[in-house]
Symmetry: C2
Subunit: 207 residues, 2 copies
């Protein structure tokens, strides 16, 4: 009987409080407490998120921290109309982007494969696809990592990505992916009930 | 002085053990203990990961659980040569995929936007792009969630994605993204030292 119970309700390996904080109680947040988001706290989140795995340790995720009123005013017009007030109200907004020039770091990041930097240099299209793919994976890690340091997140898509790239990334060549509002949540952080989710049965097949 | 210390070393909001388990001590694993990975444990991981945010709650990530010898033999030839022994040695391999038909669930998943299912139905190309983007974000949540239930992960890219789609997803239309080996790690799970990471200064700009 005990085995059956364990089988149907396996223990978490992290404590319940952590599971609540990073997944079960965390909400997409649009209601913010009047609290500073220090650079040190963003860095602490990065210092967790950076450890998540990427293909060949490419680590292509880049982060534009939008904090000043001036920078915010440059970002807002590129957002979908419904999201503009959310960016205006957020303590900090992070523009998450992919860096197609990630290969320039690979001598340091992936020493097990000497020459990979030179090999990827002429393959701009492949690099951009690799950058987008692995940066999105890292964006998932970053949402969890921000929550792990006590910050709430409000991720947003559906913006004018080319407009953002032109506004902020003309020199760096970064490719914007999404914007994540970040701060300390007021209450639950959202006035809405949580939307339903798909069960494992609904999303999986087993062979 | 205390403020300065807090500023330069902000506390985690989860306990150190959890931070170690989900990020700091977790390694891309290729060395496995002789331990079963029950369906219930995979489901427990999903029940955390499913709560991570996606655009319009689209939840497009799908999971093929490859457990039988027969299914494994169908998967192996589509992997990059260096990863074939890793799939052969893994207790379970998950093929993570994006479902471009995610819109069929949106009446239930995103009731705040009636008609979005019908609106997206003819936009197959846009749906596939949305599915890939949000499924990769969810893949990041899933790696953390698998670790949260005590499982180790060995994510792999660089396989023949079209080959995998033809082998397994001809009917469902799912689009494969990556394969994640899953099990209980033996020791640290990897014979290699951890590769270096980019610091927040190296990946961020502030405005």
């Amino acid at each position: 009987m005990t085995d059956t119970v364990l089988e149907t309700a396996p223990s978490l390996a992290i404590d319940e409080t952590a599971a609540d904080l990073i997944f079960r109680h965390a909400r997409t947040t649009s209601q913010w407490a009047d609290a500073e988001v220090s650079d040190a706290r963003l860095q602490a989140a990065w210092d967790l998120a950076k450890l998540g795995p990427t293909a060949m340790n490419t680590l292509p995720l880049r982060v534009l921290v939008v904090r000043s009123t001036e920078a915010r005013q440059r970002l807002v017009p590129h957002m979908a109309e419904g999201n503009r007030p959310k960016v205006e109200a957020a303590p900090v907004s992070l523009v998450l982007a992919a860096d197609p020039a990630f290969h320039e770091h690979l001598d340091e990041l992936f020493p097990v494969y000497p020459g990979i930097r030179e090999q990827l240099a002429p393959a701009a299209e492949m690099r951009e696809a690799m950058a987008r793919k692995n940066a999105l994976l890292q964006a998932g890690y970053l949402v969890v990592a921000l929550r792990s340091v006590g910050l709430a997140t409000g991720p947003m898509d559906g913006m004018d990505l080319d407009g953002v790239d032109g506004e902020f990334f003309a020199e760096s060549g970064w490719k914007s992916l999404m914007v994540v509002n970040v701060g300390v949540a007021e209450g639950e952080g959202s006035p809405y009930p949580r939307n339903p989710r798909l069960s494992f049965d609904q999303v999986s097949q087993a062979l």
